[in-house]
Amino acid sequence: MRFILRRLGFYLIAFWASITLNFLLPRFMPGDPVSRMFARSQDRLQPEQIEALRKLLGVDSRPLWEQYIGYLHNVFTGQMGVSISRFPTPVTEVISTQIGWTLLLGGTALVIAAVVGNLLGILAAWRRGGVIDSALPPVLVFIGSFPYFWLAMGALYLFGVVLGWFPIRHAFTDGLEPAFTWEFIGDVGAHLVLPALTIVLVSIGGWMLGMRNTMIATNSEDYITMAEAKGLRPGRIMLRYAARNAMLPSVTSFGMGLGFVVGGALLTEVVFAYPGVGYQLLNAVQGLDYPLMQGLFLTITAAVLLANFLVDILYVRLDPRVRSN
């Protein structure tokens, strides 16, 4: 319980830090980006909306601490202003329509990469010097050396443009009405294949090598020898004795990976024009849409922190050492 509370405190501090960063960035950056934005979109905004945005972004005559308190109040009551590039939709509404796609893409890729990567790592460590152990890691590390977006572009060119197996952009075919029909779900699935595949390809090597290295350490423990001496089936020793105890670092990586899901899918989303938060973030940057940019960054951070907190709770469940002290 104390562990959980300490972690919770840490995440709250981290969230506060990112809010403060968000608050300070537009106020202390050279070149006055906010005024540039207003100059571009002056005629489309209502006077009271301009006033609200000015306060949000710091074009404001109040003293700094007063602005800061107002900003904190706005964030915690969910008032992020209106989006400039998708005027007049509120920022919160833009984000809520998009976060689902990111979670779908990132979540699918993360789960596949983690499960397959860890299994490969277990097998590689169990058969040291075998085919999986000697051939696969160099290949996966080499694939992992390519920039994400480059692999994504390559996959898009090869499977999308040349072979035409999969659709090359967006999350579902234009004009199709989102609904819970097999046709729509199948369409979404087909659009998901290429972006998810590229993320899996690049990240699977890390999972595999991490698991392999921990498991090599576990394999030399006494209780493994004991289990062998007892004559247990090798498969049982591998999964229930060795792999089970080597899982913990992978659980931690899973928490980190969740952060990557929300943030790191950005490049993939950009290449495939996938309508997630990362793609929207880049659009917001290009359209000088500072309110949306800030809202997206805070949402992404909050999602990452929440995911890590959930992993911590799971960790307490898995590792009795954390519970005892």
């Binding site: 960035l25 480059w150 572009m153």
Partner: protein, 308 residues
Amino acid sequence: MTTAILKQPVEHTAARKPNRSFVHGLITNKKALVGMIVMLVFIALALLAPVLFPGDPSRITAMASLEPSSEHWLGTTAKGQDVLALTVHGSRSSLFVGLTVGFASTFIGILVGLASAYFGKFIDEALSLVTNIFLLLPGLPLLVILAAFLPPGLGTVILVLVVTGWAGSARVLRSQALSIRSKDFVAAAVVSGERAGRIMFREILPNMASIVMGTLLACVIYGIGAQAGLEFLGLGDVSTVSWGNNLFWAGNEGALLTGSWWVFVPSGVCIALVAFALALVNYAVDEVTNPRLRKIKTPKITERSAAK
């Protein structure tokens, strides 16, 4: 990311004499040798770029979108620039930024890690808190936000990459420094009245040389990859020639949709080769310093040291 995980579960035992056996181990290690040769080739190319391809590489020299031929070995872009010249010149900016970011983030990591481990208590708590927050903040969105607010330019790219990249090295180096801090010779140095700075940099630091090197390599890989990503998104300095910018222009000019694969393949392969070469060296450093990860002749592990 790969290399960060590569290093994670490995408990390094400090080599007492890191110099001779370490260097010898690296030179005789095949992975390290391959990696270092590839790196040397790229560094030579970067240094010789103005000699090999004199003049501005982005000037228009031929017809647009030519396929690779004997005249233009890697073809031309949609604007009619020579792809080979762009790629060779691109290595200059990419390697420069990668190395600068790598050294800067490792340097900050060393300072933070050593200070954390040596002073302990409140300083450690505070520094660890800051490190962990930076580790947790989603890197790529933070990169994008920072790059959007700062004026564009090479300095911004480097600054932003260091801001998002130092925390990982700080955490690794802190945990290593902590284990050395508890060794007897450090206690002896404290008792004999040596200054804090001397203990940190002359007593503790030399004993973690191999892990500093591993961290440095990982940071350089991060720097090169992240720079390319940032530039691909159009958030770098678009006027310079670098691998990331080459890919940005390739995407912008629709090289993929028109089928000019030769425009976007070379820069990506170069990034991958450099990153792979560095990862190989990094992996070799691991193997040299951690005997458990070395290739074993017999399939059964017989050693039974309790490292964890």
